[in-house]
């Protein structure tokens, strides 16, 4: 047997070091575990400070003893490599393990063991834990705001329809693949707008939605017989003309009659709220701010002074003001500049304001990507005879946008998390609803549960977005 040297463990006495070390580490964790879960202090006989630090010291010595390089044991090597490379890392690892063990019991008890979910009034919440009954009772409000209960199927239907239309791209056949970008950039947002604005709003305005759908269907059917050369203009002009004809010529007199018909109940945007409003606001802001930001970033690099300085002005203005003042201005000051009889919905104004605000950030992120591309890419595209738009759409933007996916995802996540700010103009999305609910005299004192609930929801949404952006990055990784 070789001589033991406890200051420098080596391979020769592997087992001795291993057993001593493991026992010490296990002992230290056991002490903390007992203390945390069963409130028993094994080492209370020691002086105060020492008993507090003893587990840490024991574990530290243990980890030191098992730090043996190339021991030949896979598990040990992996531990040494990842959490036990040197004294400092060993110390941090131990600390993290202890903190986790220490904080588990209170968390478990608050979230699950002592929590209540049964019943339907606050009286059932007698335990020391969370009162999930509160979330259960208010769930509907947190999801739909003040939207009338009987009409909530309209929100559900809209979201399901939009989700379905959104995933249609995955099933597109080869022939329609090249129109996908057009679909997602132009057609889908318009459909989404129709759905949300007309269907969820309802009321007389709902008939506009019907005309829109009829116009779209008719024009698509006729569209099959139009030579592809004119299709672009056709699809811009004909649906709009048809819509106007339907609305003002064919059905004009019926429209007055239609008031008697049973239309959907009109729900003003002030009553929208909860998580569905979070979705609506984030969704529209996302799809609007991206193209606006794209054009601003291109505009900033333009050779035309007017476009260039307009873009710079826009970007710097929106980046320079706080979002909260933008929202205030959109709801308080903006209507003052409008003619008396003109009225733009509060929600629409808010969406425009946030979109422009975030567009400035998106523009700068995209500009970063544009600047990262070598000049040679522009030269090559030009030398093949491409003009400005072809060069950008086919060569420059696909590469630049790919580079800035992380930056864009960052901006979008920030946008989603900024939406609660719309409470300043009186729109109550989920956090706004929480604030409202916690001041309800019947349900005072449950703010904590509400915020935890909202945090979890936001985390799920944002984590999904960030995962998706990471997937996109991997999908478009082609070079090097």
């Amino acid at each position: 047997m070789n001589k033991l040297n406890f200051l420098q463990p080596d391979k020769n006495n592997l087992n001795t070091y291993l057993y001593t070390g493991t026992i010490l580490v296990a002992l230290s964790i056991f002490i903390v575990f007992l203390n945390s879960f069963f409130n028993k202090d094994l080492i209370s006989f020691l002086p105060g400070t020492l008993s507090f630090f003893l587990p840490l010291i024991l574990g530290f010595i243990g980890l030191h003893l098992i730090r043996i390089e190339y021991s030949g044991l896979k598990f040990l090597d992996s531990i040494n490599k990842h959490i036990n490379t040197n004294n400092f890392n060993a110390f941090l690892s131990l600390l993290i393990v202890f903190v986790v063990i220490k904080s588990l019991p209170p968390l478990l008890s608050w979230f699950i063991l002592d929590a209540n979910i049964a019943g339907d009034s606050k009286d059932v919440c007698t335990g020391t834990g969370a009162c999930w009954t509160y979330i259960k009772i208010w769930f509907n409000r947190f999801m739909y705001g003040m939207y009338p209960n009987a009409e909530q199927w309209r929100i559900n239907l809209s979201f399901i329809a939009l989700a379905f239309l959104g995933t249609i791209g995955f099933f597109a056949t080869e022939k329609f693949k090249k129109y996908l970008t057009l679909y997602y950039v132009v057609i889908y947002p318009v459909i989404a707008f129709f759905f949300i604005f007309f269907f969820i709003s309802g009321g007389p305005i709902f008939f506009d939605f019907s005309y829109g759908i009829i116009a779209a269907v008719i024009s698509i059917i006729i569209g099959f017989f139009i030579p592809s050369k004119f299709k672009m203009y056709y699809f811009i002009i004909v649906p709009i003309t048809l819509y106007i004809l339907l609305k003002y010529v064919f059905f004009y007199e019926e429209l007055i009659e239609l008031g008697k018909l049973e239309a959907l109940e009109w729900v003003e945007t002030g009553a929208w709220g909860g998580l569905s409003l979070t979705f609506i606001v984030s969704f529209f802001c996302l799809i609007f701010c991206f193209p606006i930001g794209l054009f601003l970033s291109l505009g900033r690099r333009s050779d035309f002074p007017i476009i260039k300085y307009f873009s710079i002005g826009m970007i710097e203005f929106w980046r320079g003001v706080p979002l909260i003042t933008v929202l205030f201005m959109s709801s308080v000051m903006f209507p003052m500049f409008l003619p008396e009889d003109m009225f733009i919905d509060k929600l629409v104004r808010v969406i425009i304001a946030i979109s422009l605000f975030e567009a400035a950030y998106v523009a700068e992120v995209i500009r970063g990507g544009l600047q990262a591309l070598p000049r040679g890419q522009y030269d090559a595209a030009k030398s093949l005879g491409m003009g400005y738009w072809k060069m950008h759409i086919l060569v420059i933007l696909p590469q630049a946008l790919k580079l800035v996916i992380p930056g864009i995802a960052n901006t979008f996540l920030a946008l989603v998390k900024d939406t609660p700010l719309i409470f300043v103009v009186g729109l109550l999305e989920i956090v706004g609803m929480l604030n409202l609910a916690k001041t309800n005299p019947e349900w005072l004192g449950f703010a904590m549960e509400g915020y935890v609930f909202a945090s979890v929801l936001f985390f799920i949404i944002c984590y999904a977005m960030s995962k998706y952006s990471y997937n996109l990055e991997q999908k478009y990784k082609t070079e090097r």
Partner: protein, 244 residues
Amino acid sequence: MSDKIIQITEMNKWFGDFQVLKNINLEVEKNKKIVVCGPSGSGKSTLIRCINRLEEHQEGSIIVDGNELTADTKDIEKIRAEVGMVFQQFNLFPHLSILDNCTLAPIWVKKMPKKDAEDLAIQHLEKVQIADQAHKYPGQLSGGQQQRCAIARALCMEPKIMLFDEPTSALDPEMIKEVLDAMVNLAKAGMTMIVVTHEMGFAKEVADEVIFMDEGMIVEKAETKEFFANPKSDRTKLFLSQIL
């Protein structure tokens, strides 16, 4: 003369205060191969970049295939489509496969049907012997293969003139030959070519004329044999003695 496909007269160009090209006069006839050589910073690259207006000149005139290049040339894209260019850094589009690199411009600029464009691309890729790599991405190919792909990409536009801007300077010595071979084949097929290069072997083999540039001026312009046998100016002699 109608077979003068490029005519440059009294052309001057400045970058800011610095005059890069001084009083350039050059005529290129159809199907001729011109090699431009000279020390670095002599304006060779700038000269051929002016021919498809990647750089703008300030004085004088450049006439390419009957069209004068000026600031208000509306259809500069059309002229560029007729002039293929190969760059020192390849400048392939890294987000597209080799085949898509070759078909992109024919489909979107010349409005060629996709099937025809792909056939054409494969045909040209075969000529430069990388048809088997057609579905890889540029990042997966060696420098020599990338440069040959760049040649094929330019050829897919069926240009009347090909410009080469130091096509072998960024390559390992082993790969230079495969690129030069592709260029020699192209020359034999009768393409009008202007090549900026330091490969004097290539110049001797294919060039009809050699132009020597220094400090933004054309110092010497002569038939290939004449150029190498009896260079006239001292500057040319010095250059040749160093490079050969």
